[in-house]
């Protein structure tokens, strides 16, 4: 485990991504896989192939070069329907945060998010960059399971819930995009470090895109940044 800090911030995360990419480029025999998080990089390695000291030394040798990080690889545009029945907690969120529902949608779809890490379940990608005005706390008690592909917010983050799960987060919309598919290559669309934006769509457009997605077509926009 290489720890770069104890907070959720872009500078710390740049170091995490930088080290993950540097290790991938080095392709060190014995490094099995890495897990980037908000503030650390977990390196799973086979100690029978790779000595711990050697690994630590290699990390030390690439560290000084991690000062600045290249641009995100991709900018994803994720269509999101905030209307009912999809944005089931939207009015409650607006009430708690003293905003109108339209303002909540405007703030969420106006932000550019950073994919910080995956966790909890396959495809659950934690997105940082939620505007301060939407920094609602988690619910004191979990709500009923959110539907698949719900768009959620809580604790200063946004999230797309690829599996239906009980949650302490707030459901503000739903996307037709399948961030995870076991039968598609790549299985996961978003790489940690990518930029993500949400584009509001109405119910008719959701229905149209949902059918396309069910048929196996891509319905997310992707701009290559490097």
């Amino acid at each position: 485990m290489v720890e770069f800090g104890a907070t959720v911030d872009p500078v710390t995360h740049d170091h995490v991504i930088g080290l993950a990419e540097a290790l991938r480029a080095l392709d060190i025999p014995g490094v099995l896989e890495t897990v980037p998080t908000f503030r650390s990089l977990m390196i799973h390695y086979d100690p029978l192939v790779l000595d711990r000291r050697t690994l630590v030394a290699k990390i030390g040798s690439v560290q000084p070069r991690l000062q600045s990080r290249a641009k995100p690889r991709n900018l994803w545009t994720i269509p999101c329907c905030y209307e009912r029945p999809f944005g089931e907690d939207l009015s409650e969120v607006a009430g708690i945060m003293n905003l109108s529902a339209e303002q909540v949608v405007g703030l969420h779809s106006g932000a550019t998010f950073r994919a910080y890490m995956y966790g909890f379940a396959p495809g659950f990608c934690y997105l940082g960059g939620l505007p301060e005005k939407l920094a609602i706390s988690r619910r004191p008690m979990p709500r009923a399971p959110h539907p698949q592909n719900a768009v959620l917010i809580a604790g200063g983050l946004s999230l797309i819930g690829t599996f239906s799960m009980p949650t302490g987060w707030w459901v503000i919309g739903r996307t037709p995009v399948r961030l995870f598919s076991p039968s598609r290559s790549p299985n996961f669309l978003i790489e940690v470090g990518d930029s993500v934006r949400f584009a509001p769509i109405d119910k008719n457009e959701f229905q149209f895109l949902e059918e396309k997605a069910v048929a196996g077509h891509s319905v997310a926009g992707c701009e290559k940044l490097r």
Partner: protein, 336 residues
């Protein structure tokens, strides 16, 4: 030739198929899965004459009963001390046996051990999901747990000409009482008294334990720096201390990241012996070092690299001559 299938007649909760595990997707939130007791899983596969990370049935304390349909099939069982019987006749708990269509094999919880592996001399014909056929119960990646009526086709059969034999695997007779750990990565969240209490305590495996994690009952540990860290990665064997103060040893179906401080990590070579403890069993933790952990793992690999020794059962179970023992591909009598 007719296809061979294993038909599950009954299965308790938590009986799954596990191969070596799902690699390369932890960064996307996908659990590794794989066997709870890797040493027993690999031993069963070796005895069945297949690569050691092949898919095998992981039998839980709930037990399993199954029958073969079609051509005869050789299977190998290894793991905890389970009660294994063929048509009601008791067999050793680590055993290779040839199953014909008229046989019913029953594997039930025995004196000790929590997991037992049933490997086949062939290959389960299942489509891999994300590079593995391991079943992850919570997401159904790899499929749902086995239940009565499940039918498992087996292809690429080997060794139809096999006599029943006990697997001689003394390395599976492990005590789970002393489990070695390396402190960290968040041991700095705990003061000296808390660390001392962690090592001095006798811990009891709770009934809430499953493939995701083993919850331990004992003294309440309170991290001096609080119960929340900004999430980071977890390992098989990470010991988390959540808000309730009861340690959770993260096991094969753990989430790849977590937000509780981790006081220590169980060394790889001791995870299997911990996994074989049942709810109500006691254990203690002992401090170890990276060097000791690597050397213990190396020792485990050396044992597995040896040929698996088989002791013929003889009697009515032995239909053919003892000379046929060594026809088992990749498996020899230790004397040869």
């Amino acid at each position: 030739m007719s296809a061979t299938r294993l038909r599950i007649l009954s299965a308790g909760p938590g009986v799954t198929i596990q191969d070596g595990g799902r690699r390369g997707f932890l960064r996307f939130g996908v659990t590794e899965s794989g066997p709870m007791d890797r040493l027993a899983h690999r031993t069963a596969n070796r005895a069945a004459g297949v690569p050691w990370d092949s898919a095998a049935i992981e039998v839980s304390l709930g037990g399993i009963e199954l029958a073969v349909e079609g051509a005869p099939l050789a299977v190998a069982l290894a793991g905890g001390s389970f009660n294994v019987s063929l048509d009601g006749r008791r067999l050793p708990s680590a055993v290779v046996i040839r199953l014909s269509a008229d046989h019913t094999l029953s594997v039930r919880a025995g004196d000790s051990g929590a997991w037992c592996y049933l490997a086949v001399a062939g290959r389960f014909d299942r489509a891999a999901e994300l590079g593995s056929v391991s079943m992850h119960t919570r997401t159904s990646i790899g499929g749902r747990p086995l239940e009565a009526g499940s039918v498992l086709p087996v292809v690429e059969l080997k060794t139809p000409d096999l006599d029943a034999a006990e697997i001689v695997a003394p390395w599976l007779e492990r005590s789970g009482e002393n489990v070695r750990v390396i402190l960290g990565p968040q041991d700095d969240y705990f003061n000296t008294e808390q660390i001392a209490a962690f090592f001095e305590a006798t811990w009891v495996v709770s009934h809430q334990s499953d493939r995701m994690g083993y919850v331990l009952e004992g003294p309440k540990l309170s991290p001096a720096k609080g119960f929340n860290i900004v999430s980071d990665g977890t390992a098989f064997g990470s010991i988390q201390i959540p808000g309730a103060g009861r340690p959770i040893v993260l096991m094969a179906d753990r989430p790849p990241t977590g937000g509780y401080p981790k006081i220590a990590t169980v060394i790889s070579a001791d995870i299997g012996r911990l996994a074989q403890l049942r709810p109500g069993h006691e254990l203690r933790f002992a401090a170890s070092s990276v060097e000791e952990a690597v050397s213990a793992l190396r020792h485990e690999m050396r044992m597995l690299a040896q040929p698996v020794t088989l002791r013929p059962l003889g009697g009515s179970l032995s239909a053919g001559s003892l000379l046929r023992q060594n026809l088992v591909d990749g498996v020899t009598d230790g004397e040869c």
